[in-house]
């Protein structure tokens, strides 16, 4: 490792250096750089993460005893209108958006149908098409019933 510099050949030669010590110092510098980088980087990444406690990211919970049979309840969930309907004692969650052009359908409790105010489509209480310029039923939203609550937690 240690070499004597050749001073007699007239050329400048770098003095001998201890490679082990230099590598150790370089390693320390890199370790300190990584350490201080992560001290800034970790809080930054954590701050920029989507906050889990935002209302927007929470699951939707509706107690069953707040639902009236034959009445549709409109709720907003992640920027969309959903309808929670208690029909034949079975809860059902559907999107309020008409599959034709996206107007919000209106529940008619007298006839037990959904009417679309824009182009006159109507759907029965299960969301199936009764009439109108539309071929697909109202979109069903997956949900689960737990502890007496209707819970929607998936993306819709």
């Amino acid at each position: 490792m240690e070499r004597e510099p050749h001073q007699d050949d007239g050329q400048r030669v770098d003095p001998p250096c201890n490679d082990g010590r230099r590598t150790f110092c370089k390693g320390c510098i890199v370790a300190m750089a990584v350490g201080s980088g992560s001290m800034v980087g970790f809080p930054l990444v954590a701050f920029l993460a989507r906050p889990q406690t935002l209302d927007l990211n929470k699951p939707l919970e509706i107690p069953l005893d707040r639902l009236t049979p034959g009445q549709a309840q409109y709720v907003e969930y992640r920027g969309q209108q959903l309808i929670v309907l208690l029909a034949q004692d079975q809860p059902m969650v559907i999107s309020a958006s008409c599959p034709h052009l996206g107007c919000n359908v209106i529940w008619d409790s007298g006839d037990a149908v959904f009417h679309c105010p824009c182009h006159g489509a109507s759907f029965d209480s299960a969301g199936q098409v009764v009439k109108g310029p539309v071929s697909s039923p109202l979109r069903k939203v997956p949900f689960e019933v737990k502890d007496g609550k209707v819970i929607v937690s998936t993306e819709v």
């Binding site: 390693g27 809080p43 406690t53």
Partner: protein, 223 residues
């Protein structure tokens, strides 16, 4: 280690080939000559700049959640502090950093005044520096109102009363600063705009002048 080195050399070499960066870096950073008589006290100006950059950076992060509205301002700040991960840290760095920046600016000024660095040819360095110090205190004052707490409300109320002492036009200045007769949502919106855009933009302009003048005249050499 060797891989990192070769990647850094490769990327840096690509830019260096095109823009000949090595002499530029050597002249301004790695081989820059400064008087050996300078003490650590000469760092206060640079440290003021560093705290300014920290404030800009943490301010950007806080701006992602802040809502400049009397009904939502306090809630949004509380949300950052308690619900956003590491939000408490960013909010504290921004608030404590503001105090630290004022301390550093005044230490910088004290040193310049004590060593009489403000004399010719550096009068404009001092004048632009005083303007920057005033802008810094204005940054702190406008930022103080934004969390919309009792403390910030009354702080803004008392602070905006000060120009009322000006003869004749004082009352009009107070109403202009408050955007009305009292501290209201209008005041909050005005302070917010001034805090996040108007003052930082003006400050950056004065800083560039301040630094360009220092580069032109060179740093003052103590005996």
């Amino acid at each position: 280690m060797r891989l990192v080195q070769s990647v850094v050399h490769g990327v840096f070499g690509w830019f260096d080939q095109r823009y000949n960066l090595v002499p530029l870096i050597e002249k301004n950073v790695t081989k820059k000559q400064v008087p050996c008589t300078l003490s650590w006290a000469a760092c206060f100006g640079g440290l003021s700049l560093l705290t300014f950059l920290v404030q800009v950076f943490t301010g950007m992060l806080l701006l992602m959640y802040y809502k400049p509205d009397p009904a939502q301002a306090w809630d949004s700040v509380t949300f950052v502090k308690s619900n956003v991960s590491m939000g408490w840290l960013v909010q504290r760095i921004h608030a404590v950093g503001a105090n630290l920046m004022i301390v550093l600016v005044f230490m910088h000024m004290a040193r310049v005044a004590y060593y009489k660095i403000f004399r010719a040819p550096r009068e404009l360095h001092w004048i632009s520096g005083v303007v920057l110090a005033l802008l810094t205190t204005m940054m702190a004052f406008t930022g103080y109102l934004l969390p919309w707490t009792q403390l910030s409300y009354w702080g803004a109320k008392v602070g905006t009363e000060i120009p009322g002492a000006v003869p004749v036009v004082g009352g009009e200045i107070v109403r202009w600063v408050r955007r009305g007769n009292g501290i209201s949502g209008e005041t909050l919106g005005f302070f917010f705009a001034v805090h996040i855009w108007v003052l930082p933009a003006v400050m950056v302009g004065f800083m560039l002048m301040h630094f360009a003048m220092i580069r032109r005249t060179g740093i003052s050499r103590p005996l």
